[in-house]
């Protein structure tokens, strides 16, 4: 799976450009199936999950042309629906979490959709419920055959409906929005996810001639239209990368400018890092982080210990909580990290403890970090990356540590961050892939 060898303790400096947002790209690329006309998408990140989806579309007969390293032109004017019941699709589709996102566009445009049953534990049954119940509300019928390896759905014509989602699932909302975009009549989705990447999808559909209002709120109203046309779309920068780079700059005492961050779309992310005492500055559309020896965690106004927790958008994204945690290990002061939305994501803290960080893992959801205030540096160690977010947190820890660290299983990091070692080397990081 690959290994990074990192010599820590070097200050970094310079400019870094965040990649396009993966979670947006997966939705936007699926949406090209809504129209027979060409759609050009730029700022697509070059990472495995996204490339797999592009490959999947190509196998379905979508014409794909790479115009630039980050720009693709798609045209779904001759989709081969038979491919969707083939063995090959079963193999490709079930290994890709994002593949569920093609169901909504297929249902609304062609009146039927297929999706291989997800293999293994990649997607739990619960995760797909929002999608399926949404489609059923729009009048789609599912044929469940336990012997079959596909979920099949069909509908002569989807009809708009009112629905209240059980959970504000981002992919579920996106899929229902796509299905409703060409349904007959009005669809209202209440308790809809409202994060920027979903807004991007709605903007794209509006640009294609769709009619969606309520963007940015938890109540989306979609007037179905008969036809959607092509468009040119640009993905937002990845807010998880931006947050990771802020944490990295603080940990390594580096002066870094993060370029073109679409600051207005970052929500509470900058202010959460400011709570750790990081003096980040907005400069136009960039974020400038000065070299800081000490950053002091704020305490609450009554003097009690700061808590940072995750919540669905517009709350703080759970994907950045591990970055906040690792950044706090060198801060002045203490903070309680409360991971409400997922469990077991905090177990990587034992690696940080090995490196010399002072952390009390309270339970699967909470960890208290007592900042070292740079009285001592973390020590380089050998470790294995358990998942994508923890992987980057460990990478940041290793960059700040004294001595050499080895991180195994870096395929996990590559899944989310394109050309990561080259981009970090450009900032002066000592990092080698082996």
């Amino acid at each position: 799976m690959g290994t990074f060898v990192i010599e820590g303790g070097h200050q970094l400096s310079g400019e870094i450009q965040p990649q396009g947002a993966k979670n947006e790209a997966l939705q936007i690329i699926s949406a090209v199936l809504l129209t027979p006309e060409p759609v050009t998408i730029s700022n697509i990140p070059n990472i495995v999950d996204v490339n797999k989806l592009i490959d999947l579309l190509q196998s379905m007969g979508v014409k794909v042309e790479r115009l630039a390293p980050d720009t693709y032109k798609f045209q779904a004017d001759d989709v081969n629906m038979d491919y969707l019941t083939s063995e090959e699709f079963k193999k490709k589709g079930s290994s890709l979490r994002g593949s569920i996102m093609i169901m909504g566009p297929l249902l609304t445009r062609f009146g039927r959709g297929f999706i291989p049953r997800p293999g293994g534990d990649k997607i739990g049954r619960r995760r797909l419920d929002t999608h399926f119940i949404g489609f059923q509300n729009l009048g789609a019928q599912f044929d469940f055959d336990p012997k079959e390896s596909f979920y099949r759905a069909h509908a002569d014509k989807l009809k708009g409906a009112y629905m209240l989602l059980d959970e504000a699932s981002v992919t579920g909302t996106a899929n229902i929005v796509m299905a409703a975009s060409m349904a007959e009549g009005t669809t209202t989705i209440y308790n809809a996810a409202c994060e920027p990447y979903l807004q991007q999808l709605c903007k794209m559909i509006n640009s294609m001639g769709g009619n969606i209002t309520g963007l940015g709120s938890n109540k989306l109203i979609i007037e179905g239209v008969d036809y959607l046309g092509g468009c040119d779309h640009r993905c937002l920068p990845d807010m998880i990368e931006i947050g990771s780079f802020i944490g990295m700059a603080a940990m390594t005492q580096s002066e870094i400018t993060i370029k073109d961050v679409a600051y207005d779309e970052l929500g509470v992310i900058p202010s959460v890092f400011k709570k750790l005492g990081i003096n980040l500055e907005r400069r136009g559309n960039d974020i400038y982080i000065p070299s800081q020896e000490v950053y002091e965690i704020e305490s609450f106004i009554d003097g009690s210990i700061m808590t940072i927790s995750d919540a669905p958008w517009p709350g703080f994204t759970p994907d950045l909580l591990s970055i906040v945690l690792v950044t706090a290990t060198q801060a002045k002061g203490s903070v309680l990290i409360h991971q409400k939305m997922f469990e077991s994501r905090l177990f990587f803290t034992d690696k940080l403890i090995d490196m010399g960080a002072q952390i009390i893992l309270c339970d699967p959801h909470r960890a208290t970090v007592i900042g070292l205030e740079r009285k001592q540096a973390l020590r380089g160690v050998t470790m294995t990356s358990p998942d994508i977010r923890a992987g980057v947190s460990l990478l940041i820890a290793a960059l700040s540590a004294e001595g050499t660290s080895t991180i195994h299983n870096i395929g996990q990091i590559d899944r989310g961050y394109q050309y990561i070692e080259q981009r970090l080397k450009n900032l002066g990081a000592q990092i080698e892939r082996q």
Binding site: T40, Q199, N206, S207, M208, V225, G229, G230, L236
Partner: protein, 187 residues
């Protein structure tokens, strides 16, 4: 006498309260008719001030009193170029219209181009005959596109005579249907 002593202050309090109520209602009404600046339907369209290919600065607010189609496009955007004949057709059609409250119809084209030459060539090639063509030649980083949250093009905003956004993302005949709502007659 005791009674009168009470009635006068009571009357004053009543009057004062009544007066305040009236005032509050007035304030509320005023707030209700002054929309905030934003990019949703019903919001006041944010100002755009940018330069034309020949270096003139055009402002969106210059067009107050007219129905304005703010059209985000680029010479490199195929779907925009394919949509352009529709905008040209609508421009010609609504030049001949009389509007209920507005003085006329105008198109305000914001280009996400990066090079002046390609932009100018596309204007000529597609016959975009109106004056209001602006750009800062920053491509996707175009300032107005940022303000309007535009991440897909073609994207349009229809603005009424008071500068209020009345429709978004109009393509094909949807454009006519929206503008028709403001038309009194055709000349």
């Amino acid at each position: 006498m005791m009674k009168l002593k009470w009635i006068i202050p009571a009357a004053i309090i009543c009057l004062a309260a009544f007066g305040f109520t009236l005032q509050t209602e007035d304030t509320v009404n005023i707030e209700a008719v002054t929309p905030k600046v934003g990019t949703n339907i019903g919001d006041l369209a944010p100002e755009i001030s940018m330069t034309s290919p020949d270096g003139k600065t055009y402002k969106l607010s210059d067009l107050k009193g007219q129905i304005v189609l703010i059209d985000f496009w680029a010479s490199w955007c195929g779907p925009c170029r394919r949509e352009n004949p529709n905008v040209v057709r609508a421009y010609e059609k609504y030049q001949k219209a009389k509007f209920k409250d507005a003085k006329g119809f105008e198109v305000f084209s914001v280009s996400l181009d990066k090079t002046n030459d390609r932009w100018v060539a596309a204007i000529a090639q597609d016959g975009l005959a109106w004056d209001y063509h602006v750009s800062d030649l920053k491509g996707w980083q175009n300032e107005a596109a940022g303000t309007y949250g535009v991440s897909s093009i073609p994207m349009s905003f229809l603005v009424d005579q008071d500068g209020v956004i009345v429709a978004k993302g109009l393509r094909g005949m949807a454009l006519d249907q929206e503008i028709d709502k403001h038309v009194k007659s055709f000349k």
